[in-house]
Structure formats: C-alpha cells, structure tokens
C-alpha cells in the first residue's frame, strides 16, 4: 500500500508539473482550424493581411472571462485595423460545461456583438499546445515570415474588477510596442482565472 501511495504521489507531482507545459515568449505558435460560431472553419492563415493575432482563451461562464468581455471587444476594435485581430477560443469540454457549447457560444457572440471569431476547441486541444490554463488567458502572436512568434503571454490588464482602476493595460501596451517595432515589456504577466475544464 505504501509503495502504491508513493507511486501515486510521484504521479501527482509530475502531473502538476506537466500541466505547466506550453509556449514561452519567443516560441513558434501553431496554426489551427477550428469551428466558428457562424459555422465556418477558421485558421490564422486565413488572415493574409494581419501582422499578428491576439489569441484569447475564454469561455461563457467564468466571472473573470465575463468581466473582460467588453474589454476584449475594445481591443479588437482598436487593434484589428492596426493588424492585430482578436481570435477568441473556447476550450472547455461541453460534457463538463454545457454552457460552453457552440450553440451557447453563438448566443453569447450575438448578444455581445462580438466582432471577432469565437472558436470551439473541441478535440484539437489547442489550449494544451499553447499552454493556456485558464480563462481569460492571452497569447499575442506576431507574423515573422511564415512563422507565428509568441510575443506576449498573460493578462489583459491589472484590474479585473474595475476597468476604470486599471493602471497597467498590459495587453494594449504589448500591442502598442509591437506596432512600434519593439518587444513588449513586460512580455509575461499573470492573473487569476477559471481553469479550462477538460476530462483528465
């Protein structure tokens, strides 16, 4: 029994470390082909004129994701014309979170008037490749030749509760830096968020 306990303990420790995998700033990001709420399939390669992307892992129900819905819309409004459109991805397993079905996502997208794709990461586990652990979780990518290079990972800003009290608009600052030909500083931030729900 004791041996089994130690094996399990080892597994517990390893699995919590393995979960931290994913991209770091400077890594090349993968493209994907995911279903949008309008029924179309969306890949980053479809956006020929984009200079990069704001990939946001989000969902319908998480209070933090909800707190940022409008701020994400604002980012798209300001930065899509500058070459950095928002691509929202919902990776929650529908069996665990029925509220995150494509149908419910379509409803949310229409209610809010999303101006960006809201994609269902159903079986591709794109969030695992990126290393997204929670919602919202942002990855800013920049095109470099044929590659997509990760330039910023983390939070949208430093106050989920009250957008008027934000003193560090991390994401907007990162995008402004890229547009000015600089590297974002900071290029990595953290925020509390809801775990992306999947079956083990």
């Amino acid at each position: 029994m004791k041996t089994i306990s130690y094996i399990l303990l080892f597994f517990l420790t390893v699995s919590s470390v393995a979960f931290a995998d994913g991209y770091e700033v400077g890594d090349k990001a993968t493209d994907f082909k995911l279903k949008n709420t309008d029924g179309s399939w969306v890949s980053l390669s479809d956006f020929k004129d984009a200079k990069g992307f704001v990939v946001v892992f989000t969902c319908n129900g998480c209070p933090y994701a909800q707190a940022y819905q409008e701020r994400i819309m604002n980012i798209d409004k300001i930065y899509k014309p500058k070459g950095y459109p928002v691509i929202a991805i919902n990776s929650n397993d529908v069996d665990i979170k029925p509220d995150d079905s494509l149908r419910e996502m379509k409803k949310r997208s229409e209610e809010m008037g999303y101006t960006f794709p809201y994609l269902k990461d159903d079986k591709d586990n794109i969030f695992k490749k990126y290393g997204a652990t929670k919602t919202p979780h942002v990855f800013v990518l920049q095109k470099s030749g044929k590659d997509l290079v990760v330039k910023y990972i983390g939070a949208i800003d430093n106050n989920y509760e009250d957008s008027s009290k934000v003193t560090e608009p991390y994401l907007a600052d990162a995008l402004d830096a890229l547009i000015a030909g600089k590297d974002p500083k900071p290029n990595f931030t953290r925020a509390i968020g809801c775990t992306i729900k999947t079956k083990e």
């Binding site: 306990s5 130690y6 399990l8 303990l9 517990l12 420790t13 699995s15 919590s16 979960f19 931290a20 998480c62 209070p63 665990i96 979170k97 652990t133 929670k134 979780h137 983390g154 939070a155 430093n158 106050n159 989920y160 509760e161 009250d162 009290k165 003193t167 560090e168 991390y170 931030t189 953290r190 925020a191 509390i192 968020g193 809801c194 775990t195 992306i196 729900k197």
Partner: protein
C-alpha cells in the same frame, strides 16, 4: 419580542461566520507561518465548479487530522459583492468549519508569483507547507489524492 430575541441569539454566530477580507499584503503572513504545523491553503471560489467539488475533501481532511498539527485555510477569491449573497450561504449549506478568508486584491499579477513562482493563476490551487518546505499544486484533488499528499507530509513533522 420573540423575533427580537431570536435575532439577538442568531447575531453572534452570524458575525463570527463573516470571513475576513484581506488585501494581498494583509494575507501574505499566512504564506509564511513558522510554527510546527502543516498548512494547507486552498485557493478557490464559489463560482469555480472544480473548486466547489473538492471543498468537502478538504473539510474531511481537516476533521480527520484535528488532533494533528494541521491547519486548513480556505482562501476564497470570491468577489466582495458576492460574500453575502454566495460565499456565506455556501459555507452554511456545506457545513464548512474550516477557516475561511477572502483574498481581494485585483492586481493579481503583483502577487500570484509570491504565492508560488509556477502558478499561472488558475483555480483551484493548493499550497501545502511546513516552515520552508513547500509544495504547490495547480490542480484539483480528490479526497484520496489529497490524503496521500497530506500523509507524506505530516509524517515529516
């Protein structure tokens, strides 16, 4: 008259179940207690489904180890406006007797790495520590899994 008396009787227990609401600076000492106790700090919120699912396991652990040097602290990240409407009713409904505090500090990028350098910020997350020996789990636990971890640590005390 009877109602008035009842409310007087009920008042103290209601007040004592009101969790403290702390900024990170006020909360930080909880991460560095030096007493000969195994601290289990669970970061959670009532709106977080996997968190709510593991709360009974934590509560059971607290009960089972009540004669050991183990202290379970449930660190709620519920929003302040939901303390009355959601958190307190939840604690009553699930008969939670563990210590509960609310950590309310929206500038989380400033403090997440002070809890653990590897924490991305998702919940549930659990910090288990005894003095300077620390382990951090950004995941959820079943009762059995938690018990294995606790047993391996409590034997070191």
């Amino acid at each position: 008259m009877v109602a008035g008396l009842m409310s007087l009787l009920l008042l103290p227990s209601r007040l004592s179940s009101q969790p403290d609401v702390l900024t990170f600076d006020e909360f930080e000492p909880y991460l560095h207690h030096q007493s000969d106790t195994l601290y289990v700090l669970n970061f959670w919120a009532t709106w977080c489904t996997p968190c709510v699912k593991e709360i009974p396991a934590l509560e059971k652990i607290r009960e089972e180890y009540s004669n050991k040097n183990l202290r379970v602290i449930l660190v709620s990240l519920d929003f302040p406006k939901q303390i009355e409407s959601r958190l307190i009713p939840f604690l009553g409904q699930y008969s939670i007797h563990s210590e509960v505090i609310v950590l309310n500090d929206p500038d989380s990028n400033r403090w997440i790495e002070k809890v653990d350098p590897d924490w991305s910020g998702s919940i549930p997350a659990t910090l288990i520590y005894h003095k300077d020996s620390r382990e951090f789990y950004e995941r959820s636990f079943t009762y059995d899994e938690l018990k294995i971890v606790i047993n391996s640590k409590i034997n070191e005390l």
